[in-house]
Symmetry: C2
Subunit: 329 residues, 2 copies
Amino acid sequence: MKILIIGAAGMIGRKLAERISADGGLGETAVDEMVLVDVIQPEVPAGRISNVRTQALDISVPGASKPLVAERPDVIFHLAAIVSGEAELDFEKGYSINLDGTRDLFEAIRLEHGASGYKPRVVFASSIAVFGAPFPKAIPDEFFQTPLTSYGTQKAIGELLLSDYTRRGFFDGIGLRLPTICIRPGKPNKAASGFFSNILREPIAGQEAVLPVADSVRHFFASPRAAIGFFLHAATMDLSKVGPRRNISLPGLSATVGDEIAALGRIVGEKAVKLIRREPDPMIIRIVDGWAPDIEGKRARELGFTVESSFDEIIRAHLDDEMGGQARV
Amino acid sequence: MKILIIGAAGMIGRKLAERISADGGLGETAVDEMVLVDVIQPEVPAGRISNVRTQALDISVPGASKPLVAERPDVIFHLAAIVSGEAELDFEKGYSINLDGTRDLFEAIRLEHGASGYKPRVVFASSIAVFGAPFPKAIPDEFFQTPLTSYGTQKAIGELLLSDYTRRGFFDGIGLRLPTICIRPGKPNKAASGFFSNILREPIAGQEAVLPVADSVRHFFASPRAAIGFFLHAATMDLSKVGPRRNISLPGLSATVGDEIAALGRIVGEKAVKLIRREPDPMIIRIVDGWAPDIEGKRARELGFTVESSFDEIIRAHLDDEMGGQARV
């Protein structure tokens, strides 16, 4: 089996490539070739797949996806996107990459389908940004799409195209609306949602972290490990069960900031908790106030998607996957 | 005030141009110039606006909208589309006109906005085809968009773009999801929904009509006159009340085929009713079975959109607008 990952240098793409390479396959099927593409050249992951090719490619250049598709990969993971903040700052760049890049990929597949009957599985990274406030207590499976950002608009359009191209039989697609990923590895970033990760990751590494909102703020989460699990499940599950509604709101662990901190105390200790400095930030408070506190993810669970059920698990996954099992506080 | 109608040779576009020309204005504001565009050259309507220009133009040709926008019309009605059946038969043509044509128009406005601060009102004809079965008894205002046709997909994408371009301040947009129009003037057509109009229009003109479904079939309707009312209201209402959710599910008159026939008997007489021949068609029965029987249209009514409350009214509007007040049976 041959796999293509577009967006393989991002946090999820990199971990996905590492995991597939470590497993040497996807589900029961051995993977003998993997192509990793991103706007910067991705790294070749260590593992059991020897035939790995990496390539720097800007999918927003018209026709860029064509040679990738001409190699007829069996599964295509499409994770390439510019993020919410950047898509909001640069209107043209956001539409160029997130909409035109996606449509160009889908068109390349459609044309190859027409020429040869080629019909790959396409796993598309979408986002809860397709939804817009005001929200109910938990976003239900049948919630309407009224995005309030250009990024969310572009992802919602990608979802619509994915469904239509699937219905037409050009490929077999599934779109995944990811919850907020926590604990994001790496450096603190300035995304409004960054603090959810910062207040765990930094204290675990012995560093101070700033908490800009109240302990009572509730949101929903999946670990990077659970996110990789979502993509692997989407790539291997029986898609005939999904029906025409191809974009799935994934489940998340609904928890408050206070729940995060309590789990940090239990798993790592009070020394870590003391590294969290409370410094309310009115702008972040206002932004986060517009976010949904929970998502039902009922259909996704019925389809076999699973997520952590406590922040203890999320912290343990982070310790195992990023810290060699050990906090440094 | 200057008005541009794209799609001015279609049934709604033509009636809209006629009405604006007859009124000589839009709401309280005089219209001194009107540009009518369609893929075939629209007719100049009789009326009070002397400066009317008509033009044959294919909006799917890249850049086609640019000179229209460069003239800076105050209100743009965008009704151009290829219909559901044709978009399903010809994938590329559907996307080219319904998606690329729409986006190209919106882009032309965005660029003119950037150059000169131009900010017109854009009234976009969308469709209940943005929704997909299974349906509740009445489609609520907050129903999710899972279209089951390429046409519905293209309209849903147009809606998303309209909302985002409006949110960004490039224009002031409003999208209208029209109910099924009845009584459509003209010849019987082979659209699956054609019979809803045929069984009234043909008997009113003394002709036989075929009814392919049961009398108990329920659906929701607006007359052509009500549809023009929707567009005029959208062009003149206070859009600041609409908020970020710019695509409106319009109200319809929910009625059964039996209700249609009873009204025909009351308004025109039993001679007309006798011209309806029952000839069940399993394919049409199956298609219509997947349609929603009603739509709530609550938000639209609160925003001042109105529709007929009985088929008696719809038939009377048809007699006045198409038959000189008189049935020919």
